[in-house]
Amino acid sequence: EPEVTQTPSHQVTQMGQEVILRCVPISNHLYFYWYRQILGQKVEFLVSFYNNEISEKSEIFDDQFSVERPDGSNFTLKIRSTKLEDSAMYFCASSPRQRLSGANVLTFGAGSRLTVL
């Protein structure tokens, strides 16, 4: 069964450092997403991406965050200067179509745990 692959599984970084989290979506999917889950809190939407553009973002997704699809397979989330409150599990997801209803569902990766010290 096709999978969404995320690397690294766990990253520890110092506050103020740049972090890049990587994702390989399912190959025929066109829509890509990042979600995060701070320990003990809900899974929250960060951003959706289609056709090399952000299609929707949450208020969490400020100027410190950016996303990119640098080649035909990878989808990355960059945090420019990490803060303590960025410590969370970050989930990448992909879907074949945009609107999340009907037959369209998201496939999630296993997550990347980011710890900011």
Partner: protein
Amino acid sequence: AQSVTQLDSHVSVSEGTPVLLRCNYSSSYSPSLFWYVQHPNKGLQLLLKYTSAATLVKGINGFEAEFKKSETSFHLTKPSAHMSDAAEYFCVVSDGSTDKLIFGTGTRLQVFP
């Protein structure tokens, strides 16, 4: 605005007994509802989804959920728990007009032998 409330943060059952994980939702539109499961160190796996077809939805691993509009509920059930069902379960809503899924806070299911 959409929201999801999972009424229990932890549920403990004995193996072979029924499972009930409760979820209530709020949505201005005709919602799509999902249950996702997360096993330790694994991704979020789709268990089942409701998208305005049959109100009783069957999913993987013997789980099912019933959409009750009058009660704004989408509770997840399984007749007989298995040890492998121990995991975190998330109730999720989307109205289909945005790209966002709205997650509940999750219910941790423990299954005792």
